[in-house]
Amino acid sequence: MVLQARNLTVSMQSGSTRIDVLRDVSFSLAPRKVLGLVGESGAGKSMIGRVISRNLPKQFSIGSGNLSFAGQDLVGSSTESLSALLGDRIAFVPQEPLTALNPLMTVARQFVEHLDRIGVARDHQPQRMAQALREVRLLDPDRVLASYPFQLSGGMCQRVLIAIAFASHPALVVADEPTTALDVSTQATIVQIMRGLQRDHDTALLFITHDLRLAAHVCDEILVLYAGEVVEHGPARAIATAPQHPYTRALQAANPSPSGPLTRLPSLPDNMPGLAGFASLQGCRFAPRCPAAEPACHTQVPALVQTVPGHAVRCPLTDRQQAAAKPALLQTARADSASEVILEARNLSKYFEATRNWFGRREGPGLHAVRPMDFVVRAGEFVGVVGESGSGKSTLARLLMGLETPTSGQISLDGTLLDADTAETRRLRLDTLQMVFQDPQSALNPRRSVEELVTQVMESRMTRLPPEERRQRAKDLLNETGLSPELIDRYPSQLSGGQKQRVNIARALCVTPRLLIADEIVSGLDVSVQAQILNLLLDLKAQREIGLVFISHDLSVVRYLCASMIVMRHGKVVEQGPTEQIFADPQHAYTKALFAAAPPADLDHPWPPEQASLS
């Protein structure tokens, strides 16, 4: 076995209490195999990588059990013998490729540093580097080697990091969310490259991800973690096609599918507690959110039991709730061509001039961020805007909100043409349109209470409202966005990620806008919370006939939510129309490639495809 964990427990000392942040984890990883660690943020999946590299946060320690690499104890060994392993026998591929390379050093210098470290003779190094970079499909190694990290795209940086990781032909590679920060098409390429190298060099791969569907395609075996515990462990295919633990099932069901009939996503209540909350979880840690929980679940810790050989589940009730109620069919509101048009964009475009240098000369060409495009959004219509980074989708949002001045074209709201930037048009825009920002963490002022945050927009109105009225409005908004009224006096730091995003949405609803602009509002959320937010948006549509421009890189989410969609690439609309039609029969080569790049729900469909590259 390359990597073996036996009853590994990691504890955190918090005041006088010890909290097990990872409890009783056992697994073994053989050469040439891929083990997936799947779970939501805070489930403890990254903790195992940190135990290997002995990079645990302060106050964290190994409580009991052990972890060994090729028979060598990783927990008890000396720091020197561990350092000798790192980079040489055990390598790591990071989550954020753009920040994982030193910005002041060229790729070559960082690669040389590593080759020196693993003992490659200086005169062999140039050849080794060129070969390693060609293996990760960087076809111009000399140019890449001479570049600084900021001159390379995220995908290229990740390939460089993979090339460095595999340079020593390590026995084990730990990849922690290696594709999360990348575009779909890049994700497919990266997975392909990593799997290829891993097979060629008989490397064992520990693949850490929040994406169960991706893990099902990449891994041989999967370990599902919830609140620091393994809830299910078995062959990847079995876990993905026939999950047994209620949590795995919920995780799988909460992820909208890129194909098949559309059903309302079942979503779990609340969210996984933070580390400090683990202490109060007696019994099964999933019990408070479990749809099938019984009184005994709250008091007794269930054991991890093999149901079939090689497949273990930490739940005694697996057979009990097989027949979960089929979720109701989703009412996909067609874009009713009779309902009134809220927003109409004609010939809308944005061209960013190149910056001029001191002598008035342009430095390089400008950027066509959005090329002329037309579209309408009707009352109660959800329009999805899909594209990869650099496609111009965020610039489009800024144009609609009036944060950028269009280079050409017009926007009309409720039949009024916004042809000049006057106080009147600005007021109309703010009354009709509201923006929900991507990252609630930075969009919510940490020094304001929930009440102030959701009713913030009332402060700028000319009419001063009595405080009771404002409080009542805040309560209504919380109620409408599914937040408990107890939260009204809390501050953002006291809210969970999902709650923050709800506050963020509630705030946009305060002026009762006709249309919301949402830029990647679920991309930072865990799947179970994502499902809650998506359902919330659908409920708002039903209740308020609100329209939505939903910008996302995730095709499945757009399919779930939006009746019509726009596919953008390099600022240009390549395809536009009813979502159903585009999914059934994509016309443009780029749309087809985009579909092919996303991991399919059907495991018999081989993924990643052979030609994964879109560029």
């Binding site: 590299s53 000798a84 980079g87 002041l104 470290r117 900021f150």
Partner: protein
Amino acid sequence: MAFLALQLLIRRALLAVPILLCVSALVFLVLRLLPADPIAMSVPPGATQADYDQLRISFGLDRSLPEQYLIWLGKLLQGDFGGSIFFRRPVMELVAKALPATLELVGLGFLLGIVIGISGGLAMFMTRGRWGEQVLDGSTTVMMAIPEFLWAILLILFLGVVLPLFPFIGRLAPDLTLPVPLTGFLILDSALSLRVDLLASVLAHMALPAFALAIGIAPLLMRVLRSSLLETIHEDYVTQARLRGVSESRIVIRHAFPNAALPTLSLIGVQGGFMFGGTVLVEMIFAYPGLGNLMIDAVRNHDLPVIQAVALIYCVLVLGINAVVDVVYLAVNPRLRLKGRPA
């Protein structure tokens, strides 16, 4: 790189023109508004009103303010700072003697400050969380709490008088003379004339004032470097280097320090300006014949042409230091030199 640096310097030089014009006008105006009468300070006792008037006319002080300013500016552009009213010598001659002395002193003070600041910052970082950091942190507070002129006096007291280790008056021991003044930079001159005894004396005389100036910038550099090291050590690329088994000392020196040094570098540019201001009092305390001392003499005697000239030179020096820091920044930060990834 060379082209970019040149472009940057040209840009800086062009920007310097309006700045210097403003400063010169401001200094000129303020000095004329003060109830200062340079002639009264320099006429011998018993001079008549006629003598007084004649002197006023000979210095052009009877003309209107704009006229005076334009005449001064016109001469300035020809490289003529005019004549000192008090010393009765061309201002250019006075400045030419004092400027190398100050440049030499500031250069050494700067070097000392950067060395102390960077090594202290690194030491504070390496001893983080232990008593060493507490001691260093305390010492930066003490260094910052005491102004540099007071440091000058303390240094004289302890290292000049109580423990007579260093001389503290002038630039050179009185019994030594320089064979030929070549450049005015005594370190350079004594080295060129191959006189070790001279060089030693020059350096010993500069030690205390340079140290007093260094104390003005070192503690801030230490603190900024320490805190940016604390930030960079948590950057992804540092973690990633650690995961490749790179040794801790190499991580600090090769990965964390160069990145953490960038904010420190911009601080050095700002502090450089303050250091020139610091020379005024420090030079006076050490009777060091530089620009600062010249300035004090000039102010005491209401010697307007000298005050104007020295103020303008200080301004040029501050702009120059900032331009140099900008060029260094350009050299060490590739992001300023090269284009980023294609959008």
